[in-house]
């Protein structure tokens, strides 16, 4: 597809389980971002990848969160030992260069019960 693709679109998991969220950026985009939006909150920056540079992980809320970007394209956000406060929409975005217009995917809705 032409846009940023995320999967799964919805995920319900039990507290303590690990989850993986996948993002397929727009083809050719070198910059990839993860944000999350908790209920009633604005979007919160999590992590940023740009080409082969070291990612900016400064927004990850705890060491239970990690992300990879393989081959400069697809990215996976992993949350280990999920907690209820992790429930949120996780949004992936990409852009052709850093700081250029960012295109968001539809998000992965995560519910931890």
């Amino acid at each position: 597809g032409a846009g940023v693709s995320q999967s799964p679109s919805n995920k319900v998991t039990e507290k303590g389980k690990d989850v993986e969220l996948r993002c397929d950026p727009i083809s050719g985009h070198t910059a990839l971002y993860w944000y999350r939006q908790s209920l009633g909150q604005g979007l919160e920056f999590l992590i940023y990848f740009q080409g082969n540079s070291a990612p900016d992980k400064s927004g990850l809320p705890s060491d239970r969160f990690s992300a990879e970007r393989t081959g400069g394209s697809v990215s996976t956000l992993t949350i280990q030992r999920t907690q209820q406060e992790d429930s949120a929409v996780y949004l992936c975005a990409s852009s052709s260069v850093s700081g250029n217009t960012i295109y968001f995917g539809e998000g992965s809705w995560l519910t931890v019960v």
């Binding site: 971002y33 604005g42 852009s95 850093s98 700081g99 217009t101």
Partner: protein, 113 residues
């Protein structure tokens, strides 16, 4: 501590009238500001932006005004249309970290026919 604030969670206007969405920020290092629009179950889409060297940017029915001394920006939509009904997010970034957007909590705009 919220660095970008949208104090009105919702706004309702009549079709054809002006919609004014407001945003305040506290970080004087912010030098680039954006507005995103979000429909339910979709990712945010970029609407319009403004650099701190300007005080106004216009794109069709949308105009963003920036008052640096007041640390305030606003989005004007004229004339408002029912299709403009969505959540509008204000976002800001700093030079050197222009990939890291700080978002407000959003304002739900409803345009009534």
């Amino acid at each position: 501590d919220q660095q970008v604030k949208q104090n009105s969670p919702s706004l309702s206007v009549q079709e054809g009238r002006i919609s004014i969405l407001n945003c305040d920020y506290t970080n004087s290092m912010f030098d680039y500001f954006l507005w995103y629009k979000k429909y339910p179950a979709e990712g945010p889409t970029f609407l319009i932006s403004i650099s701190s060297i300007k005080d106004k940017n216009e794109d069709g029915r949308f105009t963003v005004f920036l008052n640096k001394s007041a640390k305030h920006l606003s989005l004007h939509i004229v004339p408002s249309q029912p299709g403009d009904s969505a959540v509008y997010f204000c976002a800001a970034s700093t030079e050197g970290s222009n990939y890291k957007l700080t978002f407000g909590k959003g304002t739900l705009l409803t345009v009534n026919p």
